[in-house]
Amino acid sequence: MKQKAAHIRFHTTYGQIGLAVFLYVLISGILLAVPFDVNRPYASVSSLVVMNPWASFIRNFHYWSAQFFLIFSLLHIYDHYRKQRATGLKRGMGFRLSLGVLLIFMAMLTGFLLKGDADSLQARQILGTLTTGIPLVGKFLSATLLGKEGSFQLIYVHHIATFTILLAVIILEHSRKFWPKAGDFVVVFLVLVLVSWLFSAPLHDNLNPTVKGPWYFVGFQEVLHWLSHPEWALLWILLLLILIYFANSGKETKAFLSKRTLLILTILYFLLTIVGLFFRGEHWQWMVPGQKDYDYSVMNNFKTEHVDFHPNFSAAQATDAPLIQGKKESCVICHSKVHGFTDAHNPKIIGCFSCHGGNPFATDKKQAHKNMLLIPGNLNNAAQSCGTTACHPDITQRINSSLMTTLSGMISVDRYVFGEQDSPNLLTDIHHLGHPAADEHLRNLCVRCHLGNPKTIPGPVTEKSRGGGCLACHLNYDKQASEAIATHQNDKNDTAFLRYHPSIDLNVNDNHCFGCHSRSGRISTNYEGWHETPLLANQMPDSTDYRLVEGTRVFRKEPEDVHHKLGMECIDCHNSYTLMGDGKHYQHEENQEDVQCTDCHFPGVPLTTTSRELDVESATIAALRFGKISGHNYLTTHKRHRALINTTVRSDTARLSTKNGGKTFRLKSPAAVCLAPAHKAVSCSACHSAWAPSCIGCHNAYDPNEKGYNMVTNKEKKGSWVEYTGQYLAGLPALGIRQDGNKKEIIPVIPGMILTIDRQSYTHKKHDSLLFRRLFAPVAPHTTAAKGRSCKSCHNNPVALGFGKGKLKYVIDGNRGSWRFQPAYENNPHDGLPEDAWTGFLQNRTGRVSTRKDVKPFAVEEQKRILLAGACLTCHKGNSKVMRESLTDFAKTLHHCSPKCLLPVWPKKSNTNIP
């Protein structure tokens, strides 16, 4: 009796459990049909998940009972084969049982399709294509199975009726009973309740680009990925069904071989399923744990939450919340009163999830905020926030090749200066930094300013801000939002800031650029008319001519850029393609920059683009900034033919409007002196830069005890490179030559790198001697003056010529004239040149002379030509008739010069080369 009781208590089979589970599939399916709306499958499923936890539980129950039914059915088959119970079934029965396996998969697959999410929609396409591939009847079979494109009605019918009824009939015929054992029924119920409460059924958020089929088909998806002719996969399915048939009804050897084959195929399929589930990400790319975005791309499917029967919001609140992108999103139920957005980022349209991630179907705060992005738009998450398919994917791709992201020029020049590479022009990226001396120098002192440096603390962009991806430029806090976040940062219990969201918009102003661009070349401060001094904060004079930046750096007033004086901001010249990149890697900023002075200040006929010809990005920005754009003609850059969308050309008059302020200016053509043949090679900035910052005599050494910083990881460390700076100067820049093939351009340069580097202090290698560098750097000073520099400031100025400060004098000795130069600074013992010089007086200097391969100081012959005109200027005023005429034909002017004119006689040894 006891034995019998034990038998009743413990003996069951996979088949009997499967039967119990099947009944739960039916019951939960009937219940689930109530909230499910076949006309809006994704909306109705997401709504029931968000709004009705009990319905969500039923859905989970239905899902898990179906999964268990599949698993126990397969175990049941295995059990039969293992115990050889199924062998020798009648052919009809064997066929129907084989068909039953197919029906189980079809019933489950149609259930998967009925979610209507991104996974389901793609699975539907695959199923349709494969079915269509069946010879003769494929097209009709596909239409009969799936129905009209976009409609789920027929799939629903097949799911709840066709496959379910056929399956029930086969089960009934096979098992000869319909009711499971009471014990199985109860135990299965308890397990299903627990699992359905703990693990929610999958629902794609329709944002993550990874799409996968149901778990039992990802192995098949992996196989399909290998096949260019996927219709062959149908033969495999047919083969499997035949094998099952023979395993059921075949004679002994045939049945044995079929079962063994099935076992081997099942093991292989299991391995393929593991591959599909855990090693395939977006676009079915191979991914391994630890790889960037692995968690987002691969593991997203496994992020499931338990059912919370006490949501943080009422059903009425949930009902009132709008559908977001076709789905119910719980975020906007709680955060319904947040404001501060532009129309494009209105959460009623794009929700919160589109940018912040998290779980859009969660019903409590903890679940919803799990894995959310507090600060979206950092480049490490931009592809998952700003760059998702429906938003700005092209920009978040190309921004990665922008110089502001790669820092290619900065890194390459630094390595060149440290002697670690032979060219300053090699393309590189901040992600490729190693630990040689130069790279450590960059980590310690330079590379905090890149767009990939993540913003980690919410709040407005300030002069201390660095990086921040998209937010570096597009984040704007209004007064209320600024105050609210500041209050929260002082008092974490204050949550008023949650109502005031910062705006993400096109209102990029100079403050966004200031943090990074007030350093190194200091173009932001130059532009505003501030020059950095070596003064400490406590030494700053109490005067409006001085300004404190970041609480420590003291700046002195210098002339501001004429464009700044007019109210123009950085973005009025620098457009989206030069700032965010155009998808190409560039070596240096002058390579990436598209806009030139002459695009706006053009002589003759302007280069224009009509509004119809605008690219979509320019057209969108133009329309958002200035409204109607049709019928407009825009000035266009000569370098890359990009329209300048804040300009217009009408009746031969070109105008520029500021992008933020809306001020409009008529654009002026260059002066006659600019267009003179003698100045053909002179760049605009060579003449019109009022001043440029420079520093000379800097020493660099590594101090292992210095409190340092790793700017890549943003962590403090012990040991750092230290710069012992020399003088900070502001004055007219020196000039040099940029040579591109046969084309020469005279450009402004500054003594960026007259320095010594003690490499040995870092490397501890005996052969590492002290490096001395005398490299000038091309510069765009951003200190434009309306009036260009005087003739003498170039032709008679030793600084302009690259000799450094000193007395440059034209000496008349009898009937001979000659130039003499007396430097202000002592000669540097490393190369014998005055400390601030770029080249020697009437000497050539070649080799490692500048931070570019194509920039060099004036050669002797070029110096002579400049000084020849300089000699004339010692007697003739710059605006005299003879000097003006000389601009057109200097040779002719010389030919007609008076006997009184004493042209310079050059020393015979004037071709000395300086290393």
């Binding site: 239409a143 399909l224 290998w226 398919t389 791709q397």
Partner: protein, 134 residues
């Protein structure tokens, strides 16, 4: 007696087969007509400045006023292509890639995307697609 039995079974087998074929015939006729009703529907889409626009079953490529319309169904398994990256149309299911001419440049797909003939409206704002039978 045996002959009689055999004849009856044969009769019912033939009758069942006939019924089955009749159902298949009816299915064939119905589906043929059903599919005809869904074909030859004109599709009107906006023509924007976007280099690539995705409209459900269609992808519109607008390269400097040179417009092309392709099916957005990947030629591998029919998945809807919804992403362009570096001027490559990328299928989300198995990573097949197509260039803006519709040619497959990365497998598993090897056939080009199906191109559709279309007409551009006089104001250049719309295109009308007349899908031929697929």
């Amino acid at each position: 007696m045996t002959l009689k039995k055999h004849t009856r079974r044969k009769f019912f087998q033939l009758a069942a087969a006939g019924t089955g074929f009749s159902m298949v015939y009816l299915w064939d006729r119905m589906m043929g007509n059903q599919l005809l009703t869904t074909l030859h529907q004109k599709i009107v889409l906006p023509l924007t400045r976007h280099l690539v626009s995705f409209y459900g079953d269609y992808i519109v490529i607008n390269q400097k006023q040179h417009v092309k319309v392709f099916s957005s169904h990947c030629t591998h398994l029919g998945c809807l292509i919804d992403k362009v990256e570096n001027d490559r149309l990328i299928c989300p299911c198995h990573g097949s890639e197509f260039n803006l001419e519709g040619d497959a440049v990365k497998g598993p797909a090897y056939k080009p995307l199906k191109a559709f003939p279309f007409k551009e409206s006089s104001d250049g704002q719309q295109i009308t697609i007349q899908p031929a039978e697929t």
